[in-house]
Amino acid sequence: MTVFKSILLHFWKYKYLMLIFLTAFFIFAFGFSQNSGGQAYESEALDLKVIDQSRSEISRGFIDYLSSDNTVEVVDDSTDFGALEEEIFLGISDGIIRIPSNLEERLADAAPAVEVISDQRGMAHLQIENVVNRYFIFLDAEQSTSSEVDIEQMNALLADGVPVELHESVDVASQNNFSYMSTFISFAGYWIMLFLLIIVGNVMSEFNTTELRQRIDVSPMPTRTLMVQMISAQTVIGLFVVCFMLYGGIMLRAGHLEGIPLVKMFVALVLITSFTLSIHYVIGALTTNKFIINGLANFLAIGMAFMSGIMVPLEIMGETAQNIAHYLPLYHFTQIYAEPDISWTDSSFPILIVVLYTAAFLIIGMILENKKKIAS
C-alpha cells in the first residue's frame, strides 16, 4: 500500500486546486440549472429590441402585439446602437426593430414602415418578418375596411392563435429534466477529463521523474503490484470526483429527477473517468514535461468536448466534424444516456466502444512503458 498511500498524499497537496476546480464546476452547473423549461408546449419567443421614435398609438399597439409572444425590450433613442448590434452579433438578441417617427405617413404612402435589423441568414429573421408583416397587413386591411381602427381590438384578434398540442407521447417535464441533466453530465464528463488530465498529470509527473522511478524499479516491489497501486489510487480520486459531481447534480435538481437515466449516467461518468486515466497513462509513459502534459490535457479535453457536441450542438457543425465525432469516445459517452428512456441494450454499444477505447489506450500505454523501461 506504500505507493497507493503516497500517491494519495501527493493528491492531498493539490487539495486547494481541486477545491477550486470543483467549485468552478458547480458555479457553471448552477448557471445552467437556472434556465430550465416549463411543463407544456411553449412557442420560441424572439428576443427583440424596439426603438420607438414614433410614440404613436399604432407603434404602442405594435409593441403590445409583439410583447404578447416575444421578449421585447423597448429602448430609447439615446441607447448605444452599436451595443444593440453587438447583441445580434453575439446571438444574444434576434433583432432590432426601429419604428421611425413618421410611421403613420409611411403607412399612408404605402412605404416600408419599420426598419428591421437582424441576421438575414437565420430562421429567426423569417419569423421576425412574419410577425411584423402580420401586424401591418391587418392594420392596412382594417383601415381599408373601416375608417376607424381599434388597435386594442385588433390586437385581441391577433392574439387568438391556433391551438397547439404536444403529442401525448411527449412528456415535457421529463424531457426538460432530462435535457438539463444530460447537459450537466456531458459538462461533468468534460470537466472530469480536464481535471484528471491536469491534476493527475501533474501529480504523476512528479511521481514519474526518472530518479524516483529508478528507485521504485530497483525495489523488490513487482511491476504488477506497482501498477495496481498506482491505478487504484487514481481510481479512488476519479471515483471521488465522479460521485461528488453526480451527487451535486442530483442535489441541484432535487425533485426534478423523473425521466432521468441516473444509473446509466453514473456508468457513463465512471467509464469516461477510466478512459481519461488510460489516456493519462499513455501521456505519462511519453513525457514528464509539464508543458506538454498541460497542453495535451487541454487539447484532448477541449477537443473531445467540441467534437462530441458537448460545447456546440453536433447538428450545427459541419459534416466532416460530425463524421469525426462518431469515432470519438466522448461522443459515445454522451450516447450512453442519449434518451430519457434508453434501454441497456441501446446503451450497451456506446458502453462497449468506450471500454474498448480504454483498453486500447491501456495497451498502448503498457507498450510505451515497457519500451521506456528497456531503453533505460
Binding site: S144, F291, M307
Partner: protein, 352 residues
Amino acid sequence: MVILRMIRYLISINFKDFGYWFWTLCYPLLMCGLFTMTTSSMGGTEIEDIEVGIEPGHPVTEVLGTIDFIVLTELGESEAVDRMKAGEMAGYVHGSTELELLVTETGINQTILQSVLDQIRNVSASGIPFQNFDYDQEYIIPNSQNAEPETVLFYALISMISIYGMFSAIEFVSTVQPNLSLMGARFSASPYSKYKFLFSSVASSLLLNVLSNTVVLSAIAIFYQMSLFTELWSTLLLIFIANMTGIGLGLFIGLIPGINANIKTTFAVIFMITLSFLAGLMGPEIRTIIGENMPWLNTLNPLARMTDTMYRINFLGNYSDYLPTIGLLLAYALLLFGVTLLVLRRKQYDSI
C-alpha cells in the same frame, strides 16, 4: 549590452524546451484547427424550408401551399408523429372544425409554422374581405447585422495565447529566487541588478511570446483562411499590450512563496483556462450568461475584455472600448510589475 546578453540567454533557456513550444505553438494551432472544423458551418446558416405534414384534404392545404418556405406533405397523424420524432417534420396540421397544430417539440420552425397558421385563423376570424389583405406590400426596411458568435471562440483563443508569456515569466521568477531554485542563490549572491533582470525577463518573455503569437496568427490567416483582422494594427497593439499583462501575471504567480514552479504552472493553467472559459473559449453562451449575471466579472477579466474589444473593432467597427481595454490591460501589467519589483527588491529569506 549586458541586458541584451541576459535576454539572449533567457530566450535560449526557453527556446530549447520542446514542451514550451508545444504549449505556445502546437496547442493553439491544434485548437484553431478544431474550431475551424467545428464552426465552419455555424456562420453560414441559411434559411431552410419547413417540412409540414397535413391531414389529407384539409381546407388550408391550398393556402399553405402558396407559402414559399413551407413544404407540405399530406399524410396520416401516426406517420406524421413518427417523422416529427425523427426530426424530419416540424408539425402536423389537422382538425376538421378548427385548425389545429400537433407538434412533438418546441423550436423556431414550430413557432414559424404556428405564426403562419395563426395568421390564417385571424384572417378568417376577422371578417375582413380577403381582397383587403395586401400580401405584396413591403412593410420592412431590411437591414442586416450578421450573427457570428463563433468568432468569439477564435478571439478568446487569441486572447489566451496573448497571455502565454506568463509561463516563461513563472520560470524566470522561480529561477531568480534563492528559496525556489539553486540558481537563485547564485544569482542573488551576484551583483546583477534585480531591475535589469526583471527587465530582461519581461523582454525575453515578450519576444518569445510575440514570436509564437505571430506564427499562430499567420497560420490562422494562411492555413485556415480566416479574416479575423480587418483592423490589423489596432489588434496587434492590443495583443502586444496583453502580452505584457500576461507576463505581469506570470511574474506575480512566480512570486507566490512556498510552492514550486510545477504547481505554479498548474495553477496558472487552471487560472488561465478559467479566464478564457469565462471569456467564451468553450462557446459564446458562457460569456453571455456571465454578461447578464455578473457583468463586473467580464469587466475585470482581462481576457474577456480583450475578446470583446477584438470582435468589436474587427467585426463591428466599434472602437468605443478600445482605449479603456488597453488602459485596463496596461494598468494590470504595471501593477503586477510594480508588485514584483517591490517584492524582489531587498528580498532576503527566513529560510532557503
